[in-house]
């Protein structure tokens, strides 16, 4: 059973997707299967993290083909943490979907696609093979394409055209880089690649390929200057869909960047790290400035995804063990908070009937508890102590000062002030000011399917903030693992493989 742990987070959502497809004629059973599958995924992910945290690595050679000839599934602490967060987000959004996805979308396979998406995300986190990562990306993208366009509203289709085009270009770059890398190194197993490139095969070409992958993963992660597809599409689908996109999809890009630049490409770290650091700064600044100019709830949040991606990439660019721990912690904080903010946007839309800020208002007066539920993730995003975002930023700032990057650190702090400005704007417009017209559902109680996930995610945010010590210890164990790629190579290829 322990040996099968790395494959369970892929198999469980796939089986759930098949079950949802088989239950096509039974809507109630299909919804139950969807939530049940999400619960199972969360349990499998928790078991995996528990095992990996003690044993450092869980490796499964699929079909018992020895590495590097077969496909390896590898869970280190970083991957296991992200799989657990996928489980948390998946369950929250699966429950939220029950109350917010209409019958037509459900009948056209919403639940099936949702679980295929989760399977793709988990596979991307767990695979130890670069071509398999490409396949995982495509699985995830196909599901996300259809989820984005499902329903066929005009805005959705316009957003989908941009999203699909940019993501296909990115896949094309990725494929070329994978093919050429195989031509150079003769392997696509990530551990074997790390070992081969370390020994100095074609140093110039390998840096070129690293930059090609930086572009491919950069588009997926929505870093500067490749992020324009994100704010053009993330606010168009139903709230549940944008919440799971916001929480997970760009983070798969960040994961791929971290994996590629901590494990595979360490030939010219001065060059790539400086490049990544520069990208991080511009991503933070352009994202937060873009958000300041927006007046639609979900578009403000979309630009903030971009800005927050900058913080995660910042840790990768600094590349010290502490900075990598900061990146891991920031990912843990961000996935929960960002999903929650989009879900809160859904509650606001349910009450007010719109997400255009000028038509909203007065929620604080009528629903003070809901306003508080917005403040928890919003303050956490801006980095107010003692919520989770404060600790994430603290670690990154400390790592930046330790590395002597004073200017970069100062910019990161200024960006966090501007984040607070945007959150204040959302608060003033949607919650504080007098509404221009009363919303359509002033007196109805919020359904528990919508409220439950928001409360649960807010509770996680508070808990991570209050128990920051143990959570940070876990993140720093993951960061230590990331800064020691030789251990990863030995775990996959056998002892002594890393010389």
């Amino acid at each position: 059973m322990t040996r099968a742990l790395p494959v369970l987070p892929v198999l469980v959502p796939l089986a759930t997707a098949i079950a949802c497809l088989a239950l096509h004629a039974f809507p109630r059973a299909r919804r139950a299967a969807s939530v049940g599958g999400a619960v199972l995924l969360l349990l499998a992910a928790a078991a995996l993290l528990r095992h990996v945290d003690a044993a450092e690595f869980a490796v499964l050679q699929v079909g018992a083909w020895p590495a590097p000839f077969g496909i390896s599934l590898v869970a280190d602490r970083f991957a296991a943490i992200l799989v657990l967060l996928t489980g948390v987000t998946g369950l929250a959004v699966a429950v939220y979907s029950l109350g917010s996805i209409d019958g037509v979308r459900e009948a056209h396979g919403y639940h099936t696609l949702f679980h295929v998406l989760l399977a793709g995300v988990c596979m991307a986190f767990l695979t130890g093979d670069l071509f398999n990562l490409y396949v995982a990306f495509e699985v995830m993208l196909m599901a996300s394409f259809v989820l984005l366009a499902l329903g066929g509203e005009r805005a959705q289709l316009e957003g989908a055209v941009k999203y699909v085009t940019l993501n296909l270009l990115s896949s094309g770059f990725f494929l070329v880089a994978v093919g050429t890398l195989y031509g150079v190194a003769g392997t696509l197993n990530m551990a074997d690649l790390a070992r081969t490139l370390e020994s100095g095969v074609a140093p110039g070409l390998s840096t070129t390929l690293a930059c090609l992958l930086l572009v491919a993963f950069g588009i997926k992660a929505a870093v500067f200057p490749l992020f324009f597809w994100l704010p053009a599409s993330y606010h168009t689908p139903p709230v549940a869909v944008s919440a799971v996109f916001a929480g997970l999809l760009t983070k798969v890009g960040v994961y791929a960047l971290v994996r590629a630049f901590t494990l595979i490409f360490r030939a010219e770290p001065e060059f790539t790290d400086a490049l990544i650091l520069g990208i991080a700064v511009f991503t933070m600044v352009t994202g937060v400035l873009g958000a300041a100019a927006q007046f639609e709830f979900r578009r403000v949040l979309s630009f903030h995804i971009v800005s927050q991606i900058g913080y995660m990439v910042l840790g990768l660019g600094l590349a010290t063990p502490l900075a990598l721990a900061g990146t891991v912690f920031y990912l843990m904080h961000h996935i929960v908070v960002k999903t929650n903010l989009f879900l809160v946007a859904g509650l606001v839309k349910w009450l007010g009937g719109t997400l255009a800020l000028e038509s909203l208002g007065g929620i604080y007066k009528r629903r003070p508890a809901l306003a508080l539920l917005f403040l928890v993730p919003a303050f956490s995003l801006a980095g107010i102590p003692p919520l989770s975002g404060f600790w994430g930023k603290l670690v990154l700032v400390k790592a930046g000062l330790d590395a002597g990057q004073y200017l970069v650190t100062a910019i990161a702090l200024a960006v966090s002030l501007l984040t607070l400005y945007s959150m204040t704007k959302l608060w003033n417009e949607a919650f504080w000011k007098e509404p221009p017209a009363p919303g359509p559902r002033e007196d109805q109680p919020l359904p528990w399917t919508l409220l439950g996930p928001v409360v649960a995610l807010a509770a996680i945010t508070v808990a991570v903030g209050l128990a920051a010590g143990p959570v940070f210890d876990l993140a720093s164990r993951a960061g230590a693992q990331l800064s020691d790629p030789a251990r990863y190579v030995e775990a996959v290829l056998g002892p002594g493989a890393a010389r």
């Binding site: 394409f145 316009e158 195989y182 053009a232």
Partner: protein, 115 residues
């Protein structure tokens, strides 16, 4: 043969990029298709193009006799072709739906989600 394929790949990339940068949504789809073909051919070429170089161990021998073609890139290309087939099919339907919803094939007119 490899040199010829390199030129073909270059032309495919050039044509694909040109089409992607046009304003017509149909040309966008065709351009993305050409870019995928270019990527697939590039990987195929990586596996060494040669006649009579099947990677089969001859009877009685312990290992392959050089020169032989590497089968892995061909397996990769097969996977990539299948994936790109699915993506292209989806893209055509998406473009048709978008055209029906917006009444235009001009990408510059698809701006309503940018404000």
């Amino acid at each position: 043969m490899t040199a010829l394929l390199a030129v073909v790949i270059g032309i495919l990339y050039g044509a694909g990029l040109y089409l992607v940068m046009r304003r017509s949504i149909v040309k966008l789809v065709l351009g993305l298709g050409l870019l995928t073909h270019a990527a697939n051919l590039l990987i195929f070429t990586m596996g060494r193009v040669s006649r009579d170089g099947a990677p089969i161990v001859p009877p009685g021998a312990a290992e392959l006799t050089a020169p032989y073609s590497d089968p892995v890139p061909q397996a990769l290309v097969l996977t990539a072709i299948v994936i790109s087939f699915g993506v292209q099919a989806f893209l055509l339907v998406l473009v048709k739906l978008a055209h029906r919803a917006t009444g235009t094939d001009d990408l510059d007119a698809l701006r309503s989600t940018d404000q």
